[in-house]
């Protein structure tokens, strides 16, 4: 049963990892966070956090790397460091979860899943910054 499950998950896992690594390596990720930073500042999210917000739903190891560099640069007890910790802890690697669970099934039509999951991720970033202001400022 274990072997069967892993085999059924493997293709989507492979696609996910290839896509994520290529996206990181090609600089598309940085470009996206530059493009989307006005949106984040509109939502009251500091622009330093936009790379984290972009990569958090896509790659677990990638977002840990971003979190570490943010903590190194601003210290974990700064506003940025606290916000980054809260955002990282409050959400999962959305695309990995979707790829693994739906990859194990024959489902092709996932309906509203991606939209709702990303909505939850965006609200997590916005609410995380809000709660951080309430608690520490």
């Amino acid at each position: 049963m274990g072997l069967k499950t892993v085999l059924s998950v493997f293709p989507s896992l492979l696609a996910l990892i290839c896509a994520v690594e290529l996206m990181n390596e090609s600089g598309l990720c940085n470009y996206l966070s530059d493009v989307l930073s006005p949106l984040f500042s509109f939502l009251n999210v500091p622009k330093e956090l936009s790379p984290l917000a972009i990569i958090r739903p896509i790659s677990g190891s990638g977002s840990t790397a971003v979190l570490q560099s943010l903590m190194e640069k601003y210290s974990p007890d700064s506003f940025i460091g606290r916000c980054a910790s809260i955002i990282s802890a409050s959400t999962e690697t959305t695309f990995y979860t979707i790829a693994v669970y739906f990859g194990a099934t024959k489902v092709k039509y996932m309906r509203h899943t991606v939209f709702c999951a990303l909505l939850a991720d965006i609200s997590c970033v916005v609410i995380g910054c809000l709660v951080c202001r309430l608690f520490f400022c």
Binding site: S12, I17, S26, S85, A89, S90, T91, K106, H112, V131
Partner: protein, 191 residues
């Protein structure tokens, strides 16, 4: 649909890499990511076998039934289509419990069992059922009592109070989860 997402990301990355002049790095990235996928799958295989056995033990000892009854009011609201004796329900319960206690690598095998059961109850259709969507959404939001990994990172980088983020994390993840669940409940009628 997820296939479209991957294709778009792949094409966009490759085009972008040529624009930014990193074209030759791409093939090596493809090789390294393929071996990474194999690595992860082999680890996953071991984890699934181990935790499937643990789940059998929990089931036979009656632990699953107790936790199931305890979480029943919640699962009734989230998964109204599942009957009380559904096999998927016990796997979902174990998955939620493992997530709560931060056992991420135990949550995945339970979740895979749950999603396969849900698929069977859905008649192996290629259209996801309401319960499947809800289950995946809950798993994409993190429900964790103690964010130990992040706390560890904070203390590594010299935080004076690594644990001060716990309550804000509870509030944030609960709100995000609530938004995810409510939007799922609204949208499942329209899609």
């Amino acid at each position: 649909m997820i296939n479209y997402i991957w294709s778009i990301i792949l094409c966009a990355s490759i085009i972008f890499s040529f624009i930014s002049g990193k074209g030759e790095a791409m093939s090596s990235v493809i090789f390294s990511s393929v071996s990474k996928a194999v690595d992860i799958s082999i680890t996953l295989l071991g984890i699934i076998c181990f935790w499937s056995g643990m789940m059998e033990i929990a089931k036979n000892s009656g632990l699953t039934k107790k936790v199931e009854a305890f979480l029943r009011p919640l699962t009734k609201i989230l998964f109204p289509s599942l009957k009380k004796e559904s096999k998927a329900l016990s796997a979902i319960t174990m998955n939620i419990t493992a997530n709560l206690f931060g056992l991420g690598n135990a949550a995945t095998p339970f979740g895979l069992i749950a999603v396969k059961e849900l698929e069977r109850e859905n008649g192996f259709s290629n259209r996801a059922s309401d319960a499947m969507c809800m289950f995946v959404i809950i798993n994409t939001a993190s429900l964790q009592l103690l964010p130990t990994t992040i706390m560890g990172l904070r203390s590594k980088f010299g935080s004076a109070y690594p644990a001060e983020i716990i309550v804000p994390v509870w509030i944030t993840s609960a709100c995000a989860l609530l938004i995810g669940v409510i939007s799922t409940k609204i949208l499942e009628r329209r899609f």
